[in-house]
């Protein structure tokens, strides 16, 4: 596919808008608080759109469309699990994390465990997860842009890499947030317009689409896969997504950009409605592509079906609509990689540099400089890795991310919030063992080793998540006297405090209680 002027024009427009946002945001980003979390001043609806923007990557949206078009029901799992996972985020982790945290996941854990090992382990897992996810996004993005614009893969990856570096180094979290908001609005309108145009071909009757698929392609295109190992792998895959989102650093970081737990809650209402509305239309678009473009045509351009949505747009609305959908896909890629750079670079600059190396002694200007240097560093490393990983199956990397987040971060987050006896050894053991188990089992599994795999499942979550919990438990009970010693030494604060703080949001107790007394005295 060669580039036509409309497509190029819209791509340039997207770049201009995002750079405009960055220029505006950079004038407001004067200190670390603004750089990392936009001063905690993001409004609920803005954060809701931004969460939706961060979560719905090009790999997800284009991937689900293609998977439904080519394989049917199993393609829909990413959409259903990708929505239901937010119930775990909303009901269990979002508000307590907002109440305990400041900038990063490590901040939350070190609120309870004041130990360098915990901060380092949390920073390491944040960087690992974010960079693996980013390589997946960059490899997919490079391939998509190559096909859409006809430019070289290396050039495509470098263009995206340079843009994401500028967004974060100059505009920080404020620029990221507004790029996410613009992207979420564009994506929502693009998806709805596409679904509407598909439905128009079927007299606005969604059932007619399923009936057509059944008669033209066969009812097999609507059914699950039904193989034992394959089935077990799909169960594990769903399990990874359901638990994994609650451990994705770039999603969790969004809760620190709002002023309080109530706003974190209201932002999730917006996010869940938007993500749900986009994902629920995926079968219409996926099967629309299978019927109107044809499965052969889709897999002919890209065997993974990643371009099914733009191809469908070409059939539905010609070159202009194709250009629009392609530009929205481009905006989606840029927004998601921006969110990942800020998550990974914060773990580097805030956790490793400011806290572990400088022991919290660095001045605000030094920290801000470190944050910007880290953003450039993370981008350069990701670009180089993405160039080396050209041709790697993007799905492997995305699956890896959710499985690692579910195994390394989720057990530790849950036990820090809810288990009174939990201690530093348990937290560090849980993160490291969960990370090694999930990455190790993927390396030993069929996605990497192919036919002769030592581990049967491509997605290890069903095994590696229990290993993560077990490591937390064993680490804690094998050093059971530690919790009291830690409290005596001041490296762990009393669980009463965590329990009250995470559930109420009271953070400075003297001030809060005196505040109430003073207010009452005045009335």
């Amino acid at each position: 596919m060669s580039a036509d002027p409309t497509t190029v024009g819209l791509f340039v427009a997207i770049v201009a808008i995002t750079l405009g946002i960055t220029a505006w945001a950079s004038r407001r980003t004067k200190d670390t608080d603004h750089h990392y979390v936009a001063g905690g001043e993001i409004k609920g609806w803005q954060n809701g759109l931004a969460i939706a923007g961060d979560f719905m990557s090009a790999a997800t949206v284009l991937g689900i469309t293609g998977a439904i078009a080519l394989t049917g029901f199993t393609g829909f799992y990413v959409a259903t699990a990708g929505l239901v996972t937010f119930l775990l985020v909303l009901l269990v982790v979002a508000e307590p994390l907002r109440n305990l945290g400041k900038y990063t996941l490590a901040d939350v854990l070190t609120t309870r465990f004041n130990a360098r090992e915990v901060r380092s382990a949390a920073a390491l897992s944040t960087i690992t997860i974010s960079i693996i996810y980013m390589i997946g996004q960059l490899v997919g993005a490079g391939a998509i842009i190559t096909l859409l614009l006809g430019i070289d893969y290396t050039v495509a990856v470098i263009i995206i890499g340079v843009l994401m570096t500028i967004y974060i180094a100059a505009g920080g979290m404020l620029a990221t947030t507004w790029i996410q908001i613009v992207k979420a609005a564009l994506l929502l309108s693009a998806i709805f317009l596409t679904a509407l145009l598909v439905l128009a071909q079927f007299n606005f009757n969604p059932f007619a689409i399923f009936n057509e698929v059944s008669t033209q392609i066969g009812s097999g295109a609507l059914k699950p896969s039904h193989g034992f190992v394959e089935g077990l792998n799909w169960v594990s895959f769903n399990f990874a997504i359901i638990l994994g989102t609650a451990g994705l650093p770039h999603i969790l970081m969004r809760f620190f950009t709002v002023p309080d737990a109530k706003t974190a809650r209201s932002s999730l209402i917006i996010a869940v409605w938007i993500i749900g509305l986009v994902f629920v239309t995926m079968p219409i678009i996926g099967y629309g592509a299978a019927l109107l473009v044809g499965q052969g045509e889709i897999s002919g351009v890209d065997p993974g079906g990643n371009l099914a949505a733009p191809q469908l747009a070409q059939v539905l609305g010609g070159t202009i609509f194709f250009a629009f959908i392609s530009a929205v896909a481009f905006a989606t890629i840029l927004a998601v990689v921006a969110g990942l750079v800020i998550a990974a670079s914060s773990a580097f600059a805030h956790d490793f540099y400011s806290q572990v190396i400088r022991g919290g002694e660095a001045s605000d200007q030094e920290q801000l400089r470190a944050a910007r240097v880290a953003a450039v560093g993370v981008s350069v490393v990701s670009i180089l890795l993405a160039l080396l990983a050209q041709g790697v199956n993007v799905a492997i990397l995305v699956v890896l991310t959710f499985a690692v987040a579910a195994s390394a971060n989720v057990p530790v987050i849950l036990l820090t919030l809810f288990w009174k006896k939990f201690n530093t050894v348990g937290a560090v053991a849980g993160m490291l063992v969960g990370m090694l188990a999930s990455v190790g089992l993927i390396l030993l599994g069929p996605t990497v080793m192919g036919e002769g795999a030592l581990f049967p499942l491509g997605n290890p979550a069903l095994v590696s998540v229990p290993i993560g919990f077990l490591a937390c438990y064993l680490g804690t009970v094998l050093s059971s006297s530690r919790a009291r010693e830690e409290r005596e030494q001041g490296t762990q604060i009393s669980y009463d405090e965590i329990y009250v703080r995470s559930n109420t949001g009271i953070s400075d107790i003297e001030e809060e209680i005196e505040g109430v007394t003073t207010r009452e005295a005045q009335t």
């Binding site: 009901l91 059932f207 699950p224 809650r265 009393s494 107790i509």
Partner: protein, 105 residues
């Protein structure tokens, strides 16, 4: 006064006790429900044929179950949010109770 004592004071207030009872009574069953309701879908879809049957025209039960996940998520979310609004008031009460107790002490 020792810092830990202040937190225990809040945790002993009747409003905080009520808050935690109400949260546990809702959140624990709700999480178990949605995890089971969700994970039952891939298990039934992959290991049995009960979801292969046609429900409405060619639309099979697997897709009906899939679409039901969206309804379930939206409904459970709004039930949670309406509960959580009541809990916010208990948090304010706990804060006031703790401050009164502190003044009495």
């Amino acid at each position: 006064m020792e810092r830990g004592e202040e937190w225990r004071r809040v945790s002993r207030t009747s409003a905080f006790g009520e808050l935690m009872r109400a949260k546990k009574a809702f959140i624990i069953p709700a999480v178990i429900f949605f995890l089971v309701f969700y994970m039952a879908m891939p298990v039934l879809a992959e290991f049995t044929t009960v979801l292969d049957g046609q429900a409405i025209g060619a639309l099979n039960w697997a897709y009906v179950y899939g679409f039901a996940q969206f309804l379930m998520t939206w409904i459970l979310m709004h039930i949670y949010v309406s509960r959580a609004k009541k809990w916010d008031k208990l948090v304010d009460e706990a804060r006031e109770e703790a401050s009164e107790e502190r003044n009495d002490a």
